[in-house]
């Protein structure tokens, strides 16, 4: 059994899986808050939508890293899967974790920040972008760091 390849597959799966969980929970929280405001103030749909979609990026980062792992192991190439040692598999698995774990936590917390921003925008719409979006973007920064580390590890740190 090719344990190296199995670990690389697990890494690709975890990157999307964890970051996707973070995004979906974050979107759920922000979405519920937005519908609460929209039930009273439907005219704020545009701003609410902007704040709701922000936590979705973590899932996308996870997917991109998963695709990079798939490219790395030649999943889409015509010559079959790359031969990967156990150590290399473990490295790919480890490299996939930053985007997954950072995505999981930052997605949830970004959803909560967006929910706070949505509620603030309900009372003071002029602050919606200034504070609501900017604060949520600060949480995003850590998802980007996770993505960057995973990306660099996979493309520069691991040679197959």
């Amino acid at each position: 059994m090719d344990y190296g390849l199995a670990l690389a597959f697990a890494g690709a799966a975890f990157a999307t899986f964890l970051a996707g969980i973070g995004s979906s929970i974050g979107l759920g929280i922000a979405g519920r808050s937005a519908t609460g405001v929209l039930s009273e103030k439907p005219e704020q749909y545009g701003l609410m939508t902007l704040l709701v979609v922000l936590p979705s990026t973590q899932g996308i980062y996870g997917l991109v890293i998963s695709l990079f792992v798939m490219i790395k192991i030649n999943l889409f190439g015509g010559e079959g899967l790359a031969a990967i040692t156990l150590a290399q598999g473990l490295m790919i698995f480890g490299a996939s974790l930053p985007v997954g774990v950072a995505g999981l936590f930052s997605g949830i917390h970004q959803g909560k920040t967006c929910a706070g921003g949505i509620q603030m925008a309900a009372k003071r719409p002029e602050m919606g972008v200034k504070a609501g979006v900017v604060y949520a973007a600060l949480v995003e920064f850590y998802a980007i760091l996770g993505f960057l580390v995973s990306f660099l590890l996979i493309f520069i740190g691991i040679t197959i």
């Binding site: 929280i29 808050s33 609460g36 909560k112 509620q119």
Partner: protein
């Protein structure tokens, strides 16, 4: 469960954690809060020339339908409808129905107090009860007529017993109020504790303290030294209130200096001694509760903002009624402002 009279906070007690199940409900309430009347509007109403001018100020607000109200009766009907709508919305928004039940108990106990008073004084039980309790107003008369108290929830059965026994012990109707107040205070603190609601526990304990402050000052005013009227379960030990009965008015603020109620007592006592009136004390007590409720604004989700909205909206409706009634009856603006707060 016995709660120690320990004050481990500066001004307002803790309100508990966020609960993200309430994300939708909290956001809805935040939107509704924007339609609430500002203090400025109420002060303007108090300063208005007359009833009609005060009513006009509500034109652009949440109370626009009051524009058509010509009499106090019309105003009352609109306000009652508004209050019922707020309460129904609250019930719809709350996910934890046990907390709704706990808040409904306030009305059950008030209804109970009224019903027992009528029964022991041989008056008809009547139907004019609050309909927001767990027991429908219409059932009260029937239950008392049949004397079948088992139809009440368990906590009300015990309250009936306490109230009736207290009355027959001294044949004094005031004893009914004291007995039921004591039972209710114990019940709500125990229930909030059992449900694990930090917010409601803090709210109830604060309310108990404020009730004790009012009781202490009313007893002092009446030169009475009854020490059994204080409710247990608050943050301040009953002993301190009993001590308050023995000291002069000038020493009361010092006695409560290390409690969150120093300002309430200082302001309330100053007005009582100068005007012989509890108006400002009542206002300061309400403001203290409102201040506590406003701390829920730091939470982005949870049952706390929903409960706070209900109480604040009910308070707003009471304030509108008070100002308009005073205006209709031509009361002095200064008196209204004293009650309202400037």
């Amino acid at each position: 469960m016995e709660h120690a009279a320990v004050i481990d906070f500066y001004r307002y007690p803790p309100i508990g954690e966020e609960d993200w199940q309430y994300a939708f409900q909290t956001a809805k309430v935040r939107s509704l809060e924007t339609t609430m009347l500002s203090r400025g509007t109420l002060v303007d109403m108090a300063n208005a020339e007359d009833f009609t001018a005060a009513l006009d100020l509500l034109g652009g607000e949440d109370y626009a339908e009051m524009q058509t109200a010509a009499t106090l009766g019309d105003v009352e009907n609109v306000l009652l409808a508004k209050r019922a709508a707020v309460r129904n919305l609250f019930v719809d928004l709350m996910i934890d129905k046990d907390l709704v039940e706990l808040l409904r108990a306030r009305h059950d106990f008030a209804n109970m107090r009224l019903a027992i008073r009528r029964v022991v004084t041989d008056r008809p039980v009547g139907l004019d009860y609050s309909d927001f309790g767990s027991v429908p107003a219409a059932q009260f008369e029937e239950i008392f007529k049949q004397e079948n108290y088992s139809l009440f929830p368990y906590y009300l059965q015990e309250a009936v017993e306490e109230g009736v026994l207290a009355y027959y012990a001294e044949k004094d109707v005031r004893q009914i109020d004291y007995a039921i107040d004591k039972y209710y205070a114990k019940y709500k603190v125990e229930k909030a504790s059992e449900k694990g609601s930090v917010f409601l526990l803090s709210l109830f304990r604060t309310q108990i303290d404020l009730t004790n402050i009012r009781t202490m000052l009313r007893l002092k005013m009446a030169d009475r030294l009854d020490k059994d009227f204080f409710l247990a379960g608050g943050y301040v030990d009953c002993e301190r209130f009993v001590h308050g009965l023995d000291v002069g008015y000038e020493a009361l603020a010092t006695l409560f200096y290390a409690t969150p109620y120093h300002d309430v007592i200082e302001g309330g006592v100053a007005y009582i001694t100068s005007e012989q009136s509890f108006l400002r004390l009542e206002r300061l007590c309400e403001e203290h509760v409102m201040g506590f409720l406003r701390t829920t604004r730091s939470l982005a989700a949870g049952p706390q903002p929903i409960i706070a909205y209900l109480i604040m909206k009910e308070h707003e409706i009471r304030s509108v009624r008070m100002v308009l009634t005073c205006k209709k009856n031509g009361l002095d603006t200064r008196l209204i402002l004293d009650r309202l707060g400037e």
